[in-house]
Amino acid sequence: MPSAFKKALDSGKFVVTSEVAPSKGTNLEKMAHHVELLKDKVDAMNVTDHQSSVMRFPSLGGALLVKENGGEPILQMTCRDRNRLALQADLMFAASRGINNVLCLTGDSVMLGDHKEAKAVFDLDSSQLVAAVRTMERGKDMAGNELDGAVKFCAGAIVTPEANPIEPQLIKFEKKIEAGAEFIQTQAVYDLDNFKKFMDYARQFDAKILAGVILLTSAGMARFMNKNVAGVMVPQNLIDEMAAAPKGGALKKGIEIAGRMIAQIKEEQICDGVHIMAIGKEEVVPDIMSAAGLL
């Protein structure tokens, strides 16, 4: 049976996903609170996998928590920390517990996180992980052995539409789709005219595209991302708009901008939905959705 998220993607409706960040520690209250807050509003929730290589509660555990609390989880899986045995094992575990959406990522360098001396794995890459999911759906493991019970996933991957140079990125994007990615979440996009050009190209492929929307919380944060986050380009006019917000009003302004962008994406049917990343501010996702006219 297709997952609820898969059904939403196939229904043709404007799909909205968000994120829950697993806790640093075993106190899961905050996560559970965010699940409660968002589960009836969004179509699915990504559970991040040691995001930015910072060690946290596992995405698999977080996805279970979403499931147990009535939400629809998208299990993020990176290739940074597990070899192909461990990744396949975790896919089987997830499938056996009703977690049937997976986002396949390469993963950040261990050096960017809080355990810099750890051994990085990268036995597989994101496209090979997508391919592994498909292989396991056919009832085989990666070595070609029979599985007693296959898996079933709606599998996705990511793309950075504003990467420079763009062509190597697009070659990888096409490989992910070829490997079986059904949906693609994008890195944050702010310049919708640029994004439309990307979509003109991406439309030819049989994959649903969810535009990444990162909530801006201050002009400084926007400038920081421009300088430090690969493939993220906040245009000057948005930075100016954030900077002009009255003291204490930056978050409100960020919500307004995110809402406005989402409304435009939906209105102009630029792509199939959005993936909202309100990093550390999951509380305001419903406000962003309201600002976009989605609630």
Binding site: S109, D125, S127, Q128, A163, P168, I171, K172, A179, G231
Partner: protein, 217 residues
């Protein structure tokens, strides 16, 4: 030309490794660590001075021509007495030389260096790691640039999301391997090679530790 690239360990670590060993004989190498200025004549002299200042007794110093050569032990035999007086040999070659000494001399050896990688000199004084001897060479499909080594994550299907203006996510001074590979293949009009999906890598080239015997004629 390939060279073993080394970096001297912090003196605190060397001191810790030499704890309880008062008399030291220092051995440098006339090949790689001379070239990289981490274990040549000057560095050996500086090390001897530093150790003396830290209260060690230097029983002698020398720089052998090639520390990883099995002949190194013969060459060192002229220092036999002075080496025997030492509690430890502090070796300022790469780890190949240190292990050669350890296996031949029957004395406690302590490395003064961290061996970083086998580097190729690309420009005067600039070395790059371009092969990690993975045992299943894939560069026939990547325009002769090694993604296993040159890509920080060893990715074989194209760039990760961290690639930024042609640089790697871990260091804006490091070229992204996949921008390099893309440019090279484009030049050669062989981008199809990059478009082809590569299966997960085979890590079973030569199970470590690698071992090779020249077949008898």
């Amino acid at each position: 030309m390939i060279r073993s690239i080394t970096q001297q360990k912090p003196m605190e670590e060397i001191e810790h490794l030499l704890e309880g060993m008062d008399r030291i004989f220092v051995i440098g190498c006339g090949t790689c660590t001379t070239l990289t200025r981490t274990g040549g004549v000057e560095q050996v002299a500086a090390m001897a001075e530093d150790l003396s200042a830290r209260g060690k007794v230097l029983t002698g110093t020398t720089v052998v021509p090639v520390a990883c050569d099995n002949l190194a032990a013969d060459i060192l035999s002229e220092f036999g007495a002075r080496m025997n007086q030492a509690d430890a040999l502090l070796v300022m070659s790469c780890a190949y030389g240190v292990q050669t000494m350890a296996s031949q001399l029957g004395q406690m050896v302590v490395p003064a260096q961290n061996t970083l990688f086998i580097g190729k000199e690309n420009a005067a004084g600039q070395f790059n790691e371009i092969c990690t001897q993975c045992g299943t060479c894939v560069i026939g499909e990547t325009g002769g640039i090694c993604p296993v080594t040159t890509c920080h994550k060893g990715l074989v299907n194209g760039p990760c999301g961290g690639t930024n203006n042609g640089k790697c996510e871990i260091d804006s001074n490091k070229d992204c391997a996949w921008t390099m590979i893309y440019n090279r293949l484009k030049e050669l009009d062989r981008l199809d090679s990059m478009r082809t999906y590569k299966k997960p890598r085979n890590h079973l080239g030569e199970p470590g530790p690698g071992k090779f015997l020249i077949p008898a004629e």
